[in-house]
Amino acid sequence: MERTLEFVNISKAFPGVQALNDVSVQVKGGRVSALMGENGAGKSTLLKILSGDYVPDGGCVRINGEEKNFTSPYQSIKASVSVIYQERQLLNAMSVMENVFIDDLHESKFGFLNKSELRRKTQEIIDSFELPVKPSDIVGHLSIAHQQMIEIMKAYRRDSDIIAFDEPTAPLTDREIAVLFRLIGKLKERGKIILYVSHRMAEIFQITDDIVVLKDGQLVTTFETSQTNEAELVKAMVGRDIGDTYAGIRRNDKIGDTLLEVKNLVTEDINNVSFTLRRGEVLGFAGLVGAGRTELMRAVFGADPVISGDILLEGKSVNFKSPKEAIDSGIALCPEDRKTQGLVLSRSIRDNISMPVLPKLSKRLFMDTKAEESLAASAISKFAIKTPTAEKLTLELSGGNQQKVILGRWTSNLMDTKILILDEPTKGIDVGAKAEIYQLIHDFASQGIGVILISSELTEVLNVSDYIIVMRSGRITGRLSRHEATEERVIELSMMD
């Protein structure tokens, strides 16, 4: 009997985001089906519903026609489903064999492990993966690529009927990719259902049979891989209504002289990157998650060490050893993750706004509480932060208001911010607050601030920025002016091998 997997009318919402909206997809055994879409299209959420990590708000999963409502990963595994995530879920301190057989440790009847049996079986799997490791090797000591292969072995060993891969090739070298594709081919011959998520176009056309395209949590279309081409696929991934959100922005049109110049910057994650930022310019950085945009900005900001290269601020060479030095020179960073990097959630709005200017708020030994109150009050009114008082804990604010607290921190009248780096400023924020933030970005620019906007949302980066830089794997792969940039072009540049 042919195996089938159906997602029926699946919906799933997170605070501020509809991750999946009424998605229905059917895939068949003996075929490799690709899931494609931009960041945030809903691919990972769909896989997590399949694995029982998330429970959908509506809809169901059917396997071979039978309705399954997984509420835990355990149930999913019992139903012969294996999902291999991007984030490896290995026990680093344990051996390869213990990891591969984690849920079936061959216990003898006294509860002891049958190590020799375990070793023999693990060796068989390692042989079919053509991997130069021993069953007793400690996983934490292996390379990232080999760890990824161990993760795949876990699923392979379970001999599940349904196997889902979430960007499996990202950390692999060509050699391992070749092995992996051979194995996927074998699994396919045995009639397994294979779901395959990847951003690499070449792979998709090499090994998949069907392509399912998602966008903003909705199903766009499905293709047979042999019946489509790259251009058509990209178009399906991006074609959407941009709406009035961007048309309403009052843009800044006064772009001044050079403010920041980065030359041949090299860090642990960045390879020879150069760019310039001018006064009043909104410089967008596009690319996939993990392209090195965040790491680049952290290095510029003094948060991560620079290996080589020059950073010139208003023509003067600078070398920031800590964020404090960068802040003192007029650079501000709104980090990617508001909750873990941006705010001290257990403290008030006031405390979070005054953090970088405490010395300026001190009279001799003591804090000038009045000045601090008025600083917080002016940020609250300027950015229309919804709160009854500045004493409210930032923990209790919505995402949009949290972001405004951080913006308020960097643009208060005690700060002399020349460069504002915004890393995914609208992540998890509702549409209304997004529009407000886009306008704020251009308001800052018209005050002569140079704004760097990192965003994985393509329409956002294309419509808000004056100039767009595309990155991939720690390098710049393209530079486009606002008028040259199209979604297709940017996607191509950010996925190009």
């Binding site: 900001f301 948060a303 800590s322 964020p323 404090k324 802040i327 003192d328 960073l333 980090p335 873990t340 990097q341 941006g342 705010l343 001290v344 959630l345 257990s346 403290r347 405390d351 005054s354 953090m355 970088p356 405490l358 010395p359 708020l361 001190s362 030994l365 003591f366 804090m367 509480t369 209790e396 921190r409």
Partner: protein, 385 residues
């Protein structure tokens, strides 16, 4: 609210009258006093609830005070004191209150430094041993005939250096503070015994009368160390609440990544906190030695854990980022009153160890409910808006 207020007033007035009357005439001490206490509280609450029914600002003020952690702690303290007093009236005598405070100063001083570290998101388990070493060191230095001021300074520097060592392990080597300070504690504990042959080192009252006076001078009815602890509480309270350093301690303890990205140097703050804790621990050890007329290789042991208990009782978050010196003060008083109460009521001294544990569990349970109700309120507010 109005009905509750009226009922409280109706109950409170006669209780107060009967209590006062019996206290003045019959002299049935405990019943009368209980009636008076009940009457005053009932009357007070009654009037407040009637008033709050009318005026929004009073209601808001009440809610603000009642919502504070410190308020709950004071209520708990009052209940504990009342219960012990009921069991044994000698609990509240000048003599015993002095006992309570005398016993509290070492633990109190350690609680101050420990609380600052906890607020800053770190912990130092070596404070007790550092204090013990300090007592031994100053007794030895004094025994060598060194002037007491010089000896005092050397011993405080020893505390500061210990703080630097702890800070180096945590900041420089990325060790987990719980483990590395435990190791330092163990080293010092053993070292103190080796240096002294596990004997107390006496401090001669002929040679060093001024130093010993540090431990035994009374100002009014309380000894000097008690006042030193109170002054430290006030000074550190002001530092935490009103200086930029204090604010940075809270921010680093709340989220050191965010604090660093906002221009604060978390390692500098951590280092200062460890050094501060080492100095305070030394001070506690020095005062203890002055009081006991000797440096003892077994004094103070365990007081640092009592200090942490007091700090956490007083509402200092174990995960960092919140707490106040007022809370720490209440925690110290709460813990020492409870421990003393068990002794006064005739239970053996060992019960005080059990007591610290039970009290801490009670505080954690209280905190759990408070936090839960806050989260529920928050959810409801989100839902409504």
């Amino acid at each position: 609210m109005l009905i509750v207020g009226v009922i409280l007033i109706v109950l409170g007035v006669p209780a107060l009258i009967v209590g006062l009357a019996t206290l003045l005439t019959v002299g049935n001490y405990s019943l009368s006093v209980s009636l008076v206490i009940f009457g005053v509280i009932a009357l007070g609450l009654g009037v407040l609830s009637v008033l709050s029914n009318r005026r929004e600002n009073i209601r808001r003020a009440i809610r603000k005070v009642v919502g504070k952690k410190e308020f709950t702690l004071i209520v708990v303290l009052a209940v504990i004191v009342y219960i012990f007093w009921m069991i044994n009236h000698n609990y509240i005598t000048l003599f015993n209150v002095r006992n309570i405070f005398n016993a509290a100063f070492v633990m109190g001083t350690l609680a101050i430094g420990g609380a600052c570290l906890l607020i800053g998101g770190k912990i130092d388990l070596s404070a007790g041993s550092t204090g013990m070493m300090a007592g031994v060191i100053i007794a030895m230095l004094l025994g060598m005939g060194i002037h007491w001021i010089t000896a005092l300074i050397i011993t405080l520097v020893f505390g500061a250096v210990t703080g630097l060592i702890n800070a180096f392990f945590v900041n420089g080597m990325n060790f987990v503070p719980f483990i590395s300070t435990l190791a330092v504690s163990s080293v010092y504990g053993g070292l103190a015994r080796v240096m002294t042959n596990a004997q107390n080192i006496p401090i001669s009252s002929q040679e060093h009368p001024v130093f010993l006076a540090l431990g035994s001078t009374n100002i009014g009815v309380f000894p000097l160390p008690f006042f030193i602890t109170i002054i430290l509480l006030i000074v550190y309270g002001v530092i935490l609440s009103s200086t930029k350093f204090g604010r940075r301690v809270y921010m680093v303890g709340g989220n050191s990544t965010a604090a660093r990205l906002a221009g604060i140097n978390p390692k500098k703050i951590t280092t200062l906190l460890f050094v501060n804790n080492g100095v305070l621990a030394s001070l506690a050890g020095i005062l203890m030695a002055a009081r006991m007329h000797s440096g003892s290789p077994s004094a103070i042991l365990g007081s640092d854990l009592d200090g942490y208990t007091a700090a956490i009782l007083g509402g200092v978050a174990f995960v960092g980022g919140s707490g106040s010196m007022l809370g720490v003060f209440i925690g110290i008083v709460l813990l020492s009153s409870f421990q003393n109460g068990l002794v006064v009521t005739g239970l053996g001294a060992y019960y005080r160890v059990i007591a610290s544990g039970l009290l801490l569990i009670a505080a954690l349970i209280l905190d759990y409910f408070r936090e839960n109700s806050r989260i529920r309120a928050l959810r409801k507010a989100r839902h409504d808006s």
